[in-house]
């Protein structure tokens, strides 16, 4: 499989992975392999799925390994919910967006203070622009406790 450079990808792969073009050569072989696997599945997805993937691909690639792992864990827990609960989650997210930044910070701080709260240390992100959530308790050295990108 190896670690192909961007120029070595097929045209279809380049089209799917276009958001990753600037950073492709900096990715390790394992991540390149995963993205190429995604590119192979891409044609079989619906148009909505393809659009969502294209919109989030770059953000996902910019996450730290800890953040990606935390996202996977949270997704797995939400995936187990019944369909009606999943709809509620989407509604709650919309409601959460309307909360004032202070309340969001308070909720985030409460999550960090609660033992066994969902989310891995060092993996929190704040969606409120210009704000940085307090660093997590025991983040491993080198990991980004705050978001790497700002909206």
């Amino acid at each position: 499989m190896g670690s192909p450079s961007w120029s070595q990808l097929s045209p279809s792969e380049k089209q799917v992975l276009a958001p990753l073009a600037p950073d492709w050569d900096n990715l390790d072989a394992q991540r390149k392999q995963k993205w190429r696997g995604l590119a192979q599945r891409y044609p079989k997805m619906s148009a909505d799925e393809q659009q969502r993937i294209q919109g989030q691909m770059k953000s996902w690639a910019e996450l730290t390994p800890q953040q990606r792992q935390a996202a996977r864990e949270q997704y797995k827990s939400l995936r187990q919910l019944p369909p009606e609960k999943k709809d509620e989650v989407r509604q709650k997210w919309q409601e959460y967006q309307t909360l004032p930044p202070e309340q969001k910070r308070e909720l985030a701080a409460r999550s960090a203070a609660t033992p066994g709260a969902p989310g891995a240390p060092g993996a929190s992100r704040s969606t409120a622009p210009g704000t940085n959530a307090p660093p997590a308790t025991t983040a491993p050295a080198g990991s980004a406790g705050d978001t790497k990108r700002s909206r």
């Binding site: 995963k34 989030q56 953040q67 969001k104």
Partner: protein
């Protein structure tokens, strides 16, 4: 000269044969025994009066190998082959597990990226706390 010697040997042999034929049976037997003892003392097989060798030369294990030199090598080769096969099987299983884990993560990432919720929803601790408020 040589011819005279042959003549003489021929005549002498005939005389001795004639004399031996006139010997009594007991005398012949005693002469045979004495001859056998003399030859045994010299380490040579003695012939009985019937003309068969009395001494048996036994060869213990002659031509019979307890273990052929090639048997040990074959046994060792099979043992090493088994070890190599087991090591290969263990390595193959480990690689298969890594492959399975990679495929599982890949599948998960695709689902996350294509889900209705943005990535931030899975990372925002405040939102996770917000959700717990509404869980029974």
């Amino acid at each position: 000269m040589i011819r005279d010697q042959h003549e003489f040997a021929k005549k002498l042999t005939a005389y001795l044969d004639n004399g031996a034929a006139q010997l009594k049976a007991g005398t012949v037997y005693r002469l045979s025994q004495a001859r056998g003892k003399a030859l045994a003392a010299l380490g040579q097989p003695a012939w009985t009066s019937e003309g068969r060798a009395a001494q048996v030369h036994a060869y213990a294990g002659a031509g019979r190998g307890t273990a052929s030199p090639g048997g040990g090598l074959r046994k060792g080769a099979w043992l090493w082959l088994g070890v190599v096969l087991m090591a290969a099987a263990g390595f193959g299983y480990q690689q298969w597990q890594v492959y399975q884990q990679t495929r599982e993560i890949e599948e998960l990432d695709v689902q996350i990226l294509s889900s209705d919720l943005p990535i931030d929803a899975y990372l925002d601790r405040g939102f996770q706390t917000w959700l717990t408020r509404f869980q029974p």
